[in-house]
């Protein structure tokens, strides 16, 4: 789920940036530092949408760096248990398939794939229903439900299921082509 929230961060700025464009530098650095990171609490920071407030800088003794408390608005993405997401399949193997929804990797175990879908190995491993009408392979788009999340320092890993109503393939690249 996406959230637009306000976060705060202490930015350390090198003295060489001090000057008329200090603010710009600070914002640029903020974006560089923050966007794309992941925290367990807030999830992935997708984008910074604005800087609310830059506090007074504090010069660090001994280094000359200055620390600015910066309040910024950003869009974060955090997957939740039970959330339904659309994701792109990135890898299929006999244990299930991996899909990605933006920065989040989701694993759908074969236990969580409907029983009528069977793993077909081969050049393009996939899960196919017995009648062949539905096929999950790499680059398929699936709708899945997250049933578990594991949050590491740098990534969020989810377990998903497509064994539920209205879940499963929503767009099959194979079919389109």
């Amino acid at each position: 789920m996406f959230f637009h929230i306000v976060l705060e961060r202490n930015m350390q700025l090198h003295p060489r940036h001090f000057g008329p464009h200090l603010r710009d530098k600070l914002v640029a650095k903020l974006m560089k530092d923050v966007e794309g990171t992941c925290s367990g609490r807030h999830g992935f920071v997708v984008a910074i949408t604005g800087v609310d407030n830059i506090g007074k800088g504090l010069i660090r003794d001994g280094t000359g760096f200055v620390t600015f408390p910066v309040k910024y608005q950003c869009v974060v993405f955090r997957p939740f248990k039970g959330e339904i997401l659309e994701a792109v399949v990135t890898m299929v193997n006999k244990m299930g398939f991996f899909a990605e929804a933006g920065p989040v990797q989701i694993f759908v175990s074969n236990h969580l794939i409907p029983d009528d879908m069977e793993f077909q190995s081969g050049d393009m491993p996939n899960y196919t229903t017995s009648d062949g009408s539905v096929k999950i392979q790499k680059d398929s788009e699936v709708r899945l439900k997250i049933i578990g999340t594991r949050v590491d320092a740098t990534e969020i890993f989810c377990i998903g299921t497509i064994k539920d109503d209205f879940l499963g393939v929503i767009n099959d690249p194979g079919a389109a082509s």
């Binding site: 090198h14 003295p15 060489r16 660090r60 001994g62 280094t63 000359g64 760096f65 248990k81 890898m91 193997n93 244990m95 299930g96 991996f98 694993f107 175990s109 074969n110 236990h111 969580l112 997250i146 049933i147 578990g148 999340t149 594991r150 590491d152 377990i159 299921t161």
Partner: protein
């Protein structure tokens, strides 16, 4: 009955005990032990055919199995049944858990000679001394109570209260238990011997009992009041080693004899394991329990070899005894029939079920139904594995066994299984399927808070009716069972079984819900068996090798080093020959060196396109770990040739440079070097150079020194070092941790981490302004007094290049002039007003593309551009050579470097016009070779003696990088006090930086004396106080280095090696040196390091130019010329740092001086002294003074008068074959050896300490004086 505890205050119990004892004795007397009880039964119960049959069956089994041990035992017992029985008696006292097999044997024995046996026993009994007999251990009593409580003496249960039990515990007044060593495997024999001795000797033997425990090898227990009694008793017994008698602490006494609680709560459907026989260890399920007869009927998967059975039934003797146990397999009746085995179908009268009876064995549904003694099964802590349970599901049975197994599983739960807050579900009873959370756990009952509304707040539920509840998505950790330690996320719950996706392997694991707990921890489970750990590179049996990608319970999965396809084999521990720990390198497609941790991309093969750090290299095969590769734990095996190092050169760019030329060519190219057009052809005489321009390429070279584009570790951590002192001397290892001055080193050769101390902090000086390239390297020697860190030195694989090019030893000339050149470039950066040397790029110089010389250069930065020229202008003036007359004069303003054409240079300072070497300059195009010589010399050797009037050629500039000049390094010594922040390190490996060894060697040589390796007489006053340990901005530790000498090397191009620890100088304070002793101490080094310098130097002036800059002026005088040096150190503006940790010191070396050519005399060598107007006299150099003069003791053995001689007045005596020599230069400088041969200008030398044979230039060999 005489009681042995007459004085006991336990009289009341005693009576009871007595009875009990009697009871027990009776029992023993009658049946002799546990075997006895069964025999007794047998006698009375002969009616029971089935049981009898079964027993026989068991015996048969035993026979069939017939392992040698049992036969021998049997024989032994039969022959010496007396002992045997005795032993049995003892056993029964000590050891409840007797093996059924012996039980059988006892029965055998009993059957053969029952009466006699009993009779003997009866007789013997009275002979036994009371003490021995009455080893009334409370434990024993309790056990007996427990045993009989169930059947006949149930009332005891009520009677023995806890208090009474407590009272029975041994106290200090009781005899003690002593542990005595005996021969392995002879424990029982030893005990029996003691017993026999006791019988023979009667009361004079003062021990009370002897105990041999089955589970305790090598020891027996003896009960006695005093140790002396034990020794006395053991005296003369061959099997007992009474040398060491250990007292068993009172607390542990009961443990010695306590037995696992015998209260077997066997009920139907319990899982048990067989303890003996063919089925030993097999899982069995209880189908019937006969508590009275202590027999249990269990259901097993038969292990029957039908063929053998058929043979047997046919009467054909199975000739060969099977060494193997048949695999468990369901009995196939049809198959049996086909083999003409008679199968009877019988109905069991009790249950009404039909059983197939084959040769006395009962089968049903393929299972074997077997009635065994309760003792032959173990029911405690049975944890059936999944596989076993799976197997137990008969084809017909569809998993209804699950509930049954559950009950057992529950029964075997550990205490504290449920914790508050656990989600549970009720699996039995009226509340079945009720979910809830554990609120409180009492003994058996668990109070749960039900999920459902309308129920009381908490419900007490029996623990056994509860089951942990997990739902898909929970993150759990397996806490017991085969998969213990693994973590993962639940994807499916099948009743009691969870399917978990492991965090590490992303594979499914099936575990029992009982075995897991909810946890957010992420681990991989077992990662090591024996010496081998997950992800180790191992050598397999058949000389193949691979990486362990998975550790299973008893085997490893190994990804073999076959690049064509991923080949995974399952290997047992013993199939692994060894771990491969050797670090090797390989060459990638473009001939770049690939070393471990380099990031490579796979260009060919099945895993084309994958990318990841190299984890192992072996025989040109890389094991790459790609985090996104899910198979094989992310490991990919690829040929080195089909990979490319990321950040490496592109094909045909020779990054590693066999030919430096190509590299330089590269360097030249960068367009941003404005002056490039002006550059001279490589190798050409340097002319007209503008310092500034040349800078960048050179720096490039320097910093570029390549490196490890992808490697990101900035620290000494990871550096390979060699330990030079202490017990681990000579070991190599990797630094795993640096803390202050102590360094933890993981030894390569042993799986061991040792902590050492290091006296050398290698610091890297970085030219920040030059976009993060490393410009110069300096080394700080801290604290030679304290032993800190001084046991470690970098492994400097003693610069091979140097050895290879011995001639440089002579031709000091060439290297020299080049050395100067580089200096200029460096200056620029410092001067740069913009001086914020830290560009973004710089912070991470290592990773930065810019860092890699091969990568295209980023366009010059603005500040760089405008800063430089300007700065040059302002650069400190350089006074080429101040005449002696005004040695202390400040620098003459005027000629900035920039303007000084090389020509000037030579004119200016050097008295001697260009030496021949100069002409040679271009020739030695070996960048790597030369530096060594100049660097290495010891202080003494570099004596000023020879005024080397080598002109400094500032001119060549960056261009000259390519020229041979590269080879030279300079080292400058400065004394200063400063605060150094250590602990932040660069990770640069020295391995392929051939120049580094020079530096390092130099350092170590100089302090070799301290290091215990080389013998240089020079010692410097270094002091370091490791104070102010303060964490400054997470950078590391602060060291206050007081009055320390440190030296810097300056050189060209590659000479600016990259290595070592970066110390960040946070403040610096230099003070001038006097001309006195200090100066002398200082500058010998100076001149030594810098070969060109002769004579003494003194710092004339030193001031802090700014907070970040120090200016030193030194006067150098000697050999008829005085030169003024000016150094400027800039510790960067405080607060500027690169990548958080590398703060360079900028320095500038503004002076040039005459060069000396050596030779560098050393003490103890024979020289010819030619004083003008005198005949040459032979003498022995006794001492080399800082100013270059030597004190020479005249005479062959140095026993004559001592004269002072200037270097140019001396000439080393050329050694002859088989003379003892001393090496005056090169890598082995200072070593002594023997000249074992002469090959024109080269001498073949056997070095004394290493016994290596070296070929060295004769010119650096001097004859060693005979010891006087």
């Amino acid at each position: 009955m005489p009681r042995r505890r007459d004085d006991d205050d336990l009289e009341p119990e005693d009576v009871e005990e007595d009875e009990d004892q009697l009871d027990d004795e009776e029992d023993e007397d009658y049946g002799g032990s546990r075997g006895g009880s069964s025999r007794k039964r047998r006698r009375s119960d002969f009616i029971d055919d089935a049981a009898e049959e079964d027993d026989e069956e068991e015996e048969e089994d035993e026979d069939f199995e017939d392992n040698p041990r049992s036969t021998s035992q049997k024989q032994r017992r039969r022959s010496g049944s007396q002992f045997f029985e005795l032993e049995a008696a003892v056993d029964s006292d000590d050891e409840e858990e007797e093996e059924e097999g012996e039980d059988d044997f006892i029965v055998d024995g009993g059957a053969e000679i029952p009466d006699e046996d009993d009779g003997r026993r009866m007789h013997r009994r009275p002979l036994l001394p009371r003490e021995d007999d009455q080893e009334d251990f409370e434990a024993l009593e309790r056990r007996i109570q427990a045993r009989y409580a169930k059947s006949s003496h149930a009332e005891y249960d009520e009677e023995t209260t806890d208090v009474e039990q407590q009272a029975l515990l041994p106290s200090i007044k009781d005899p003690k238990l002593w542990m005595v060593k005996c021969a392995i495997g002879r424990e029982r024999e030893a005990a029996i011997c003691l017993m026999q001795k006791c019988i023979d000797k009667g009361p004079e033997l003062q021990i009370r009992s002897a105990i041999a425990l089955d589970h305790l090898k090598n020891y027996i227990y003896v009960e006695a009041d005093k140790e002396a009694h034990v020794k006395e008793a053991c005296k003369g017994l061959r099997n007992i080693y009474s040398m060491k008698v250990m007292l068993v602490p009172i607390k542990e006494m009961t443990d010695v004899l306590s037995v696992e609680s015998k209260a077997i709560d066997l009920s139907r459907d319990t899982w048990v394991r067989m303890k003996i026989g063919t089925y030993k260890g097999d899982l069995a399920k209880v189908v019937d329990v006969d508590n009275v007869r202590q027999r249990v009927t269990v259901k097993l998967i038969p292990r029957i070899d039908l063929q053998a059975l058929a043979n047997k039934l046919d009467g054909r003797e199975a000739v060969k005894k099977k060494a193997f146990v048949p695999v468990p397999r369901f009995m196939n009746i049809e198959e049996a029939r086909e083999m003409h085995i008679r199968v009877e179908r019988r109905r069991d009268p009790a249950t009404g079920d039909y059983f197939e009876n084959i040769g006395g064995m009962l089968f049903k549904d393929g299972f074997l139904y077997k009635t065994v003694s309760m003792k032959s099964i173990s029911s405690n802590n049975i944890q059936p594995t999944f596989d076993e349970l799976e197997k137990f599901r008969t084809p017909g049975e569809n998993g209804d066994g699950d509930i049954g197994s559950l009950t057992t599983l529950f029964a075997n739960r550990k205490k504290g299984h449920f914790m508050k807050g656990d989600a549970v579900i009720v699996v039995k009873g009226d509340l079945k399927n009720l979910m809830g959370w554990v609120e409180k756990v009492e003994e058996e009952n668990v109070h749960i808070r039900p999920k459902m509304k309308g129920l009381p707040n908490t419900l007490a539920v029996n623990e056994k009716d509860l089951c942990k509840y997990f739902k898909p998505g929970d993150h759990v950790k397996v806490v017991s069972g085969a998969q213990e330690g693994a973590t993962g996320m639940v994807v499916k719950v099948e009743g009691h079984v969870l399917i978990i996706v492991s965090d590490t392997t992303k594979e499914d694991i099936r575990v029992f819900g009982d075995n897991v707990v909810e946890s957010s921890e992420v681990t991989s489970g077992v990662t090591r068996i024996g010496d081998y750990e997950l992800h180790d590179l191992v050598l397999l049996d058949n000389m193949s090798f691979g990486v362990i990608i998975r550790v299973e319970s008893e085997a490893f999965q190994v990804l073999k080093g076959v690049p064509e396809r991923p080949e995974v084999v399952l290997v047992k521990l013993r199939e692994i020959k060894s771990k491969i720990e050797r670090k090797s390198n390989a060459q990638d497609q473009s001939k770049n060196t690939v070393s471990v941790k380099d990031v490579v991309r796979i260009l060919e093969g099945p895993c084309k396109g994958k990318l990841g750090p190299v984890e192992h290299i072996y025989r040109g095969i890389l094991f790459i770990c790609d985090r996104h590769h899910l198979e094989h734990a992310g490991y990919i095996c690829a040929k080195a040739q089909s990979c490319r190092v990321i950040g490496g050169s592109h094909p045909n760019g020779d990054r590693n440079g066999d030919s430096v030329a190509s590299r330089f060519a590269n360097l030249r190219a960068p367009p941003q070097i404005p002056q490039s057009p002006r550059r001279l052809p490589r190798g050409g005489p340097p002319v007209n150079r503008k310092v500034l321009p040349s800078t960048s390429p050179k720096i490039n070279v320097a910093g570029g020194g390549r490196h490890r584009g992808g490697r990101g570790h900035d620290s000494l951590v990871g550096v390979t070092i060699k330990i030079r002192l202490g017990p681990f001397k000579g070991y190599r290892g990797r630094v795993v941790d640096v803390n202050g001055q102590s360094v933890r080193v993981e030894l390569d050769s042993q799986m061991k981490i040792v902590t050492g101390k290091c006296s050398l902090v290698h610091s890297v000086c970085i030219n920040i302004a030059s976009s993060g390239y490393l410009v110069s390297v300096w080394t700080i020697i801290v604290d030679l007094h304290a032993v800190n860190r001084n046991q470690i030195s970098d492994t400097v694989a003693v610069a091979t290049p140097f050895r290879e090019a011995p001639r440089y030893g002579l031709g000091s000339e060439t290297p020299m002039h080049p050395s100067r050149t580089p200096l200029h470039p460096y200056m620029t950066p410092m001067r740069d007003p913009g001086a914020t040397p830290i560009h973004d790029g710089m912070r991470t110089p290592m990773r930065d593309r810019a860092w890699n010389p091969y990568a295209p250069m980023s366009p010059p930065r603005d500040n760089w551009e405008d800063g430089n020229p300007a700065s040059w202008g302002t650069s400190p003036q350089y006074q080429p050579g101040s005449p002696r007359s005004r040695p202390y004069e400040g620098p003459t303003p005027g000629s900035g470097w920039a303007n000084t054409p090389s020509g000037n240079y030579s004119e200016a300072g050097t008295p001697r016009e260009s030496s021949p070497s100069y002409a040679n300059a271009p020739s030695p195009y070996l960048p790597s070779t030369p530096g060594g010589q100049p660097m290495t010399p010891s202080s003494a050797s570099y004596l000023p003696g020879t005024p080397g009037g080598q002109p400094m050629t500032p001119g060549s500039g960056g261009l000259d990088v390519m020229s041979p000049t590269i080879e030279h390094l300079r080292v400058v010594w400065i004394r200063a006090s400063f605060i150094l922040e250590v602990g932040v390190t660069y990770k640069h490996l020295l391995e392929d930086m051939h120049w580094n060894p020079v530096l390092m060697r130099n350092v170590s040589d100089k302090f070799g004396e301290k290091m215990g390796e080389k013998k240089y007489s020079y010692a410097s006053p270094y002091k370091l106080s490791n104070t102010n340990k303060r964490d400054l901005d997470q950078l590391g530790e602060l060291l206050v280095v007081e009055n320390c000498m440190y030296y810097m090397t300056v050189g060209q191009g590659e000479c600016h090696g990259v290595f070592g620890v970066v110390g960040r100088i946070t403040s610096i304070h230099c003070r001038p040196f006097d001309r006195g002793e200090e100066a002398c101490q200082l500058f010998p080094i100076f001149s030594e390091c810098e070969r060109g310098c002769v004579g003494r130097c003194a710092i004339q002036n030193c001031k802090m130019v700014s907070s970040s800059e120090v200016e030193l002026k030194c006067v150098h005088y000697g050999n008829g010329m005085d030169l003024c040096y000016e150094f400027i150190f800039m510790s960067l503006l405080l607060g500027i740092r690169i990548h958080g940790d590398k703060l360079g010191v900028f320095w500038k070396f503004l002076a040039a001086s005459g060069d000396s050519e050596g030779p560098w005399f050393m003490p103890d060598i024979l020289v010819n002294v030619r004083k003008p107007g005198e005949d040459p006299v032979i003498g022995v150099v006794r001492e080399v003074l800082p100013n270059g003069t030597c004190r020479v003791a005249l005479g062959m053995s140095g026993d004559g008068e001592i004269v002072a001689a200037l270097p140019h007045e001396m000439e080393a005596v050329v050694p002859r074959k088989s003379d003892k020599i001393k090496i005056m230069g090169g890598a082995h400088r200072g070593s002594t050896g023997k000249l074992i041969g002469i090959d024109s200008s080269d001498g073949i030398v056997k070095v004394d300490d290493t016994l290596d044979v070296k070929i060295l230039d004769m010119a650096i060999l001097a004859k060693l004086a005979h010891p006087y």
